[in-house]
Amino acid sequence: MSGGSTAPEQDVVLSSRARIARNLDGIPFVNRANEEQCEYVMRTARHLLLHVPLDERMIWVDLEQSSSHERQLLVERHLISRHHAESTVRRGVAVGESEHASVMINEEDHIRMQVLRPGLQLEDACRTCRSIDEAVGTHVEYAYRERWGYLSACPTNVGTGIRLSAMLHLPALRLTNDIGRVRQTAKDLHLAVRGYFGEGSDSTGNFYQVSNQITLGRSEDEILDEFENTIIPGLVRYEQAARQVLLDKHRRELEDQVFRAFGALGTARMLKLDESMKLLSRLRLGVCLDMLKEAADTITLDTINSLLLLVQPGHLRQHVGCTISPEEARGVRADLVRELLIGD
């Protein structure tokens, strides 16, 4: 694989995320809370997150007062959910300076803290997330019952309130038509399989977010151990085996797809978002399989991972510094991709 920074299992695992859902006792959950109660939760959480000692300084964003463009940037960076961006209740988010951690206030639950890490680093993400949870939890009364554990608005989060997820790149399993089997296996194992932007998003580019659905009856350590040491490594091995099959039996076809993607990305003057995601996905596969070494040894996984973010509409707008039409965005996207890939 070509150079750049390395993260565990980065060929297949783009990122890991740990998320913990908590609610304040005595206050209705967000779906039943009135404006005053939402305001109270927000003020309390904001004060704590900006003042209790945490691993890093947090920056507060009042989502009601932020622009739709700012919210879109946060969604594209996976720091808030689409639901949180589009909601109409009093809400905000605290974002860690390194942009690895964020705490959503008044999303579906009062407090949802999450930590992102590149590659497969769930244990590290969990540890950091738990430290935020403990720092906040020693100052507020969380809604908790001996039988249920941590109470949540949705029955699927009660108990530990912990959700682990990994963003996987599974192009070979798609090409070998095994992705249906992956979905079925995931279902049998009580895992959710979603698209690049989580709930409600599609799997353009063969990016799949896999997460645990069971939060009750198992301890945090059991959930983490199974997810990090069995489930995700199992899926990684499955994808790697599919890549090997393609290399052994269909190398020419695979190279053709990778180099066509390279050619299109390196020459296109207009690119749609979907199209760029699909092409970058093929290119990413080619980089992982060392196919592009001779043609373009400067292309790294870091470059492609960055491009997957920079081609998103909010980031393109940020790049040019003003609002642009969808047609203009296609042009800007193509120029940006060429510049970063081949220095054009």
Partner: protein, 173 residues
């Protein structure tokens, strides 16, 4: 008595008095039906049932959470629980609902509250029950309060974990 029209036995007997004149009609089943007399056993079932329902209007009102006003039907419909107190109000049906969503799991086995770390399970249970008792009393649910009080008493009668185990750290393992 025979039917006024044929020789079959009369099953419908109608006596009317209009303007001081008494009029008696006796009819068999067939002729009563022809005459459009409503037969008690032949009313459509929906009419009979509607009479019953009018007579006994439903008196059972779906219970709602006293803290947030959410009914269990709303929870089931939206898959969203209203507030922490809903977990106490709808403990049984919600338990079944959660069990389905959580692949059969019924109890939490993970970490406890940060401020409760180090306390024994018995202490935590007692604290939970005390809070439930306060909630029941504030809602004037005296039967529920009595049940909780009994549970607290049972807990107090139980030998403490400290006397059975060298330490309570195993609770969180």
């Amino acid at each position: 008595m025979k039917c006024d029209i044929c020789d079959k036995p009369a099953v419908v007997h109608e006596v009317t008095i209009a303007n001081g004149v008494k009029k008696e009609v006796h009819l068999c089943l067939d002729h009563a039906r022809d005459a459009g007399v409503a037969m008690p056993g032949q009313q459509p079932i929906n009419k009979l049932l509607s009479k019953f329902s009018v007579a006994g209007k439903p008196t059972v009102v779906a219970p709602r959470c006293e803290q947030c006003g959410t009914s269990f039907a709303q929870i089931r419909q939206n898959s969203l629980i209203g507030c922490p107190a809903c977990y106490d109000t709808f403990e049984e049906p919600l338990g079944r609902f959660i069990e389905r969503a959580q692949a059969g799991a019924t109890h939490h086995v993970g970490r406890g509250l940060p401020q409760e770390e180090g306390k024994s399970r018995q202490q935590r249970e007692e604290r939970q029950l005390m809070r439930a008792l306060e909630a029941a009393l504030s809602r004037e649910q005296y039967e529920r309060a009595a049940e909780i009080r009994d549970q607290i008493n049972q807990l107090s009668d139980r030998p403490s974990e400290e006397s059975q185990e060298p330490s309570s750290e195993g609770d969180e393992a």
